[in-house]
Symmetry: C2
Subunit: 308 residues, 2 copies
């Protein structure tokens, strides 16, 4: 079995590559829920949904979130009542949130509901939230004030400086059932090219997960989400800088050194391999930019080769 | 000011007639929330919405619920996950539920949220839920077992025998702010032709409301929802029988005698006027079947004439 720590788009694309080269049922994704949020009374799990929609083949590649060919009847009607519509909820996407929220209200844990949703989409891989307990990424802005992650990420379009990030509830949280066993049994654990400080870090902050990976770091391979100093998507580059790291593969290596023995860096960063090694992480150079399913599959093959 | 105790369709139609003959701002509707329900994590208030959509001119006259010209994208997508889709939620209707649920989750009372929703629809009349506290109509089936009202009404299509009805939470509930003052100050209180045992009774069960009306019953006028022994819509006739009343204007008079001094009965029931009077209720004969807005306005004019 291959286990993948995944945030949103980077995790979803890597998983889409992986299921082309290993049987999907042998893939486990442990997904960040630190950016889950409550909107209009509904429980929204953005990263779980991005992974789900991508593996189901219904994701919207243009946006990196939501469902392709989505309709917007509900949002249009909601604008009658409120201008709090910065988090766009498509009609079909809303059905997922309604089902999840109803099941959670009925007492089902998020991991169970996630299994039901992925089964409904015909997904053979196993998706687990990092925890069934609420962990919420909170962002302290440099200008003052703390906001929930989606307010920073979507409403403020991550265009503001950040002073610190914390994962509220993480200390008291427990890994979802199956997470520790899956991560322990996997022949390879991959840390997807997701934002190390706001997508991977919350997963590692759930007690037990970071420790387990640290103990087997020689068979944990991370893929850098930073290529040539910049994030392919999202604010990973500026967040790394704002939180005191270098926005480079060396900075990523330093952040993940405790849990990953190997970092796959892009060919554009081949010259920084020595810096990664100096951070105590083995550097592997590959084409990491998954511009197509074929390239994602090629990257997945490379990861398997590194592990074996 | 004219106050109206309203359930769903009968209340909505009467209100639509009333606002044609008195300034809408001088109309207060106190609306049943005993059939409110939680669906997919959302708070749904069927009677408040039926009244709102009717007064806003967007209701679906064919169904008696929901919005005309509605689309069903979310429900179609929800069917991927569950067959619990017997309560149909249209896309535009869902926007109302989302807004309400989000505001309630943020701590706003239902009366405040209702004011916001009706303002967004440009409604000048005041709509108040009977209570901001949860009161839930529960239906004990003759075959055994107790179900929530919507399960009886929608899922079972009210095609099953009922042993008893109770209003869970009513004893501890308080009238919503403005309800008692509005009912006390109104020159006329109308009890709409709504189901007396499951639409009007829960309103009267909120402590203080029934007592207030009893004290001023001479200026409380009810309109019979039973015409020629049958309900115009819904299960009022069979519910009256199953709960030990006569399914006639006389049965309605007996149920409402404590709070209404006058009952308006349809011309079809003119022969039963004596029976109504024997129940201690003054009988007025009128054309009560609101087949058009014009007939609803005519009925409203007649109610005002009765009161003055």
């Amino acid at each position: 079995m291959i286990a993948v720590l995944a945030g949103g788009v980077g995790g979803a694309r890597l998983l889409a590559g992986l299921v082309q080269v290993v049987p999907p049922a042998e893939v486990l994704a442990v997904v960040n829920t630190g950016d889950d949020t409550e909107l209009h009374g509904l429980h929204v799990s953005p990263d779980l949904d991005t992974v789900t929609y991508t593996l189901a083949g219904v994701s919207n590649p243009a946006t990196g979130w939501g469902i392709a060919g989505e309709s917007w009847s509900v949002m249009a009607a909601l604008e009658r009542f409120t201008d709090q519509t910065w988090f766009r909820l498509g009609d079909r996407d809303l059905a997922t949130h309604l089902y999840r929220s109803g099941r959670l209200a009925a007492g089902a844990p998020l991991s169970q509901v996630t299994a039901e949703i992925t089964a409904a989409f015909g997904i053979e891989s196993r998706l687990l939230p990092m925890s069934d307990d609420p962990v919420r990424t909170r962002v302290e802005l440099a200008a003052g004030g703390e906001v929930e992650f989606q307010e920073y990420f979507v409403k403020l379009a991550h265009a503001v400086a950040v002073r610190s990030v914390r994962f509220a509830g993480a200390e008291a949280s427990r890994p979802a059932p199956g997470v520790l066993a899956g991560l322990a049994e996997a022949e390879l654990v991959v840390i997807a090219p997701s934002n190390p400080v706001v997508s991977v870090a919350p997963i590692l902050a759930v007690p037990g997960i970071g420790q387990l990976l640290a103990a087997r770091r020689d068979s944990v391979v991370a893929v850098s989400p930073i290529v040539a100093g910049a994030a392919l998507k999202g604010p990973a580059d500026r967040l790394l800088r704002e939180l005191g790291h270098e926005s480079s593969v060396v900075g990523v290596a330093e952040v993940l050194a405790g849990v990953a023995g190997t970092l796959v860096i892009d060919e554009a960063d081949a010259g920084l391999a020595d810096g990664v090694e100096r951070a105590g992480v083995h550097a592997v150079v590959a084409d990491t930019v998954m511009r197509s399913d074929e390239l994602a599959a090629a990257l997945a093959r490379r990861l398997l080769a590194v592990a074996r």
